[in-house]
């Protein structure tokens, strides 16, 4: 009997790991594209506005190019987002069964935003030639609003998993009543949603700027490149200090409401005041090794006083402690560290602009901008590791364990492997396609027209 009982348990433990890896990988892939969907429209609209208002041909050209790139990234984002919708059921059917009635509410609202974004994005991207001017500009404005609204709704659903409320369970654990507004505006939405929306704008700002910085380092110092660097970089730099403020608030909220996550990400072993802030290091049960310790700082950051009591892992039941402490801790530190470095970059640009009304001309500045794009994405991933791994072993904090939510289906390792191959392929091709587009623009060549597999000699004919 014992062996028979143990068998499905082992299978589901293996499923849990495979399902978590697949979810993490597909989400990590999609989230970069969703940042582009959320924040690229605003960046494009700024360039478009400058172009129209000042008759600036370079700015108009940038807006046109970015929208063509967005056509590719939005398509990949739309289908990888659809995969996530499927995965909610394919990987976590028991979670959806029990909590879909509450968890789904925010997605209903997101659906509207996404619908409107897809519609106006199509009108904007394909309306360049024949809509023209301000009518075309205004057709693009809804993308900005719906991008932000969509991000808010999706993050509200995630926030609800962190601080669930607005539902009543019966004895069997089934949701028998809901309060949609409480679900949507759970306490975590207040700090998670702005944190993520700002992150999306920072990722897009620094990423787009970094592409133009690469070009400038290669000697392409024309006005188009300078403007292509300046517009997105300005957006990223203005929002960075705001993000640091929001992130700091978020960390305090996490300390108050999700103490296990906070103890994990800060490697706090014992509850008490005068907690040391550890920068970097490896978390072990007898303290943090190889870290830079700053006495009392952790307590001070949580409550503005060295006496502030912070809950440690010793107050969290063993089976409710987040796993992978070192990963959590280093992710959190990396996110904060990168954010601080980006603040430095913003100060550099701000100071130079104030004195000289120009971009710093030193190659070191351009190199820093090049790194900032990858850095912003890395910080984004680290933030999500803290949010998601830090909530484990729960899928709905305090109500449902991830191990209870996972599917009993066979072959999850197989599907993870297939997804890995598929996504690496489409990611590689997408980057290749975008680079080819950029080279084509640079060389002033015509875009390929006509149908994809028409003979090259006649493809121009069909292109009209």
């Amino acid at each position: 009997m014992l062996s028979l009982d143990a068998l499905p348990l082992a299978a589901s433990a293996s499923n849990l790991l495979a399902a978590r890896e697949q979810m993490a990988f597909t989400l990590g892939f999609h989230i970069v594209l969703s940042c582009l969907g959320v924040a690229l429209p605003a960046t494009i609209m700024v360039a478009n506005y400058i172009g129209l208002k000042r008759g600036d041909k370079d700015a108009m050209e940038l807006a046109r190019r970015w929208s063509k790139a967005m056509a590719v990234t939005f398509a990949v984002g739309a289908v990888t987002g659809t995969v996530l919708s499927f995965e909610f059921g394919l990987l976590w059917p028991n979670f959806m069964d029990r909590f879909g009635a509450a968890f789904g509410i925010a997605f209903g609202i997101e659906g509207i935003f996404f619908f409107l974004e897809a519609i106006f994005l199509a009108i904007y991207i394909y309306g360049w030639k024949r809509l023209g001017g301000w009518a075309h500009f205004w057709a693009g404005v809804p993308m900005v609003v719906t991008g932000i609204g969509g991000a808010f709704s999706v993050v509200a659903a995630n926030s609800w998993m962190n601080q669930p409320q607005g539902f009543t369970l019966n004895a069997a654990g089934k949701v028998v009543d809901t309060d949609p507004l409480k679900v949507l505006f759970n306490p975590a939405t207040g700090y998670e949603a702005p944190h993520m929306i700002l992150a999306a704008y920072m990722v897009v700002g620094f990423l787009v700027a970094s592409i133009y910085a690469v070009g400038m380092l290669k000697g392409r110092r024309d006005r188009l490149h300078r403007l292509g660097l300046l517009i997105p970089l300005t957006i990223g730099c203005i929002l960075t200090p705001v993000q640091l403020f929001v992130g700091d608030t978020a960390a305090r909220e996490v300390a108050d409401h999700q103490p296990a996550k906070f103890a994990g990400m800060e490697c706090i072993q014992k509850t008490g005041g005068h907690q040391t802030e550890y920068v970097g290091g490896i978390c072990t049960s007898d303290g943090v090794k190889a870290a830079i310790p700053i006495p009392d700082l952790d307590s001070f950051l949580v409550g503005f006083s060295a006496d502030t009591k912070v809950i440690g892992l010793d107050d969290i039941p063993v089976d409710e402690r987040p796993p992978a402490n070192t990963l959590l801790h280093l992710s959190f530190d990396a996110m904060v560290g990168i954010g601080t470095a980006l603040l430095g970059l913003a100060a550099w640009l701000g100071f130079f602009w104030w004195r000289k009304r120009d971009i710093p001309q030193t190659p070191w500045f351009l190199r820093a901008v090049v790194v900032s794009g990858a850095g912003a994405i890395l910080a984004l991933w680290c933030g999500w590791i803290v949010t998601e791994v830090g909530r484990q072993p729960w899928i709905v904090q305090g109500y449902m364990r991830t191990s209870e939510a996972v599917t009993e289906a066979d072959g999850i390792w197989f599907s993870f492997a297939a997804v890995l191959v598929l996504y690496i392929a489409i990611g590689t091709i997408a980057i290749k396609v975008l680079r080819r587009m950029s080279r084509r623009w640079r060389e002033g060549g015509a875009e390929p027209e006509g149908t994809p597999y028409a003979p090259p000699t006649t493809s121009g004919e069909a292109g009209r």
């Binding site: 009635a101 789904g104 659906g111 949701v175 599917t407 994809p452």
Partner: protein, 334 residues
């Protein structure tokens, strides 16, 4: 009508829009696939590309709408379907990814071989995706999804009715697409392409009609509950669908182009709602009723509000997109 029934009706409205517009987009991929070599297939493929490019992403969102309404308003049904039919659903998801990426990449990628590969990926997955979606729907109709979920991963859909439904989905998409493309070709003043798609619309209509007739026979054998109600309460809608289909054939042969789209859409809409009537009051015949699966009232109310907002904001916006696209104000290729 109870709140739960109203939520189910909203689900059906979403399915109707997705079948009409998403289905036609899949059909475009089908015609791309069978358009022949590069030389011969060039002009039909160009027309398909122009028609699909500005609208396919918006049309795709109906699928998200269906998923969201299903898991929010009827969580146990979503969970049961996903934990049973995960094989065809995962294959459909892969198809969706390949199709979207293939379509997006083939416009911008360079080199004939690479564009061919991307185009073939798009076209082939445009056929496989609706096939697996149809298999899922057929398996649900057959009563092969237990209310508690975790039904058999393979025997639940590897049966005649689900597979036939898959084929019917492909044929219906091809038929809708060919009819839509007749109009697009006419607008573009390409009379030979117009005739090209008239011929294909006729062929696809015949295949879809035969598949539907075979489907009725299989329904009788495998999904008796649905069959009995389809020929009873659902009969007016079945007859309406047949009349629309017949009318479409006449219109195609006589060149009454204005009637084509309404008749083609009518045939599909009537059969979807006929199926809905036949399945009522079950979401999963005959193990899970609509009222058993329904979420608490406040959640359903949220779905109603979302639907009302969609009706006020999304439908007019979609109308704007289609109008601009049909007036050639959006470039099909960029």
């Amino acid at each position: 009508m109870s709140k739960a029934d109203a939520a189910a009706a909203i689900l059906w409205v979403g399915a109707t829009f997705y079948a009409l517009f998403g289905g036609a987009d899949f059909g475009g991929g089908f015609w791309d696939l069978v358009a022949g070599d590069a030389e011969n297939g060039e002009r039909p493929r160009a027309l398909i590309q122009r028609s699909l490019t500005p609208v396919w992403e918006a049309n795709h969102v109906w699928l998200i709408f269906i998923l969201v309404v299903l898991w929010t308003a009827f969580p146990p049904a979503f969970s049961a379907v996903m934990s049973t039919l995960y094989v065809p659903i995962a294959l459909a998801a892969v198809g969706i990814v390949l199709r979207g990426c293939g379509f997006a990449f083939r416009k911008s990628i360079e080199g004939l071989a690479a564009r061919r590969a991307a185009g073939a990926t798009f076209a082939l997955s445009s056929v496989l995706t609706p096939f697996f979606m149809g298999a899922v729907v057929g398996a649900i109709a057959s009563g092969n999804v237990p209310a508690a979920g975790n039904g058999d991963a393979f025997s639940s859909w590897l049966e005649p009715l689900p597979l036939l439904t898959g084929a019917m989905f492909v044929a219906t998409g091809a038929y809708l697409s060919a009819v839509f493309l007749v109009g697009d070709a006419r607008r573009a003043g390409e009379a030979d392409l117009e005739r090209y798609f008239v011929r294909r619309a006729l062929a696809a209509a015949a295949v879809a009609g035969i598949a539907a007739a075979l489907g009725l026979v299989e329904l009788h054998a495998e999904a008796r509950y649905i069959f009995d109600r389809l020929v009873d309460q659902g009969l007016p809608l079945v007859v309406l669908s047949g009349l629309c289909g017949f009318g479409l054939l006449v219109a195609l042969l006589r060149g009454a182009r204005r009637l084509l789209r309404p008749l083609a859409a009518g045939a599909v809409v009537a059969i979807i709602w006929g199926w809905g009537v036949a399945q009522f009051p079950y979401l999963l015949p005959t193990s899970l009723r609509i009222d058993q699966a329904a979420a608490p009232d406040p959640t359903l109310t949220t779905i109603f509000i979302v639907f009302a907002v969609a009706a006020v904001l999304v439908l007019p916006s979609l109308g704007l997109l289609y109008t601009l696209s049909q007036r050639d104000l959006l470039e099909g290729e960029h």
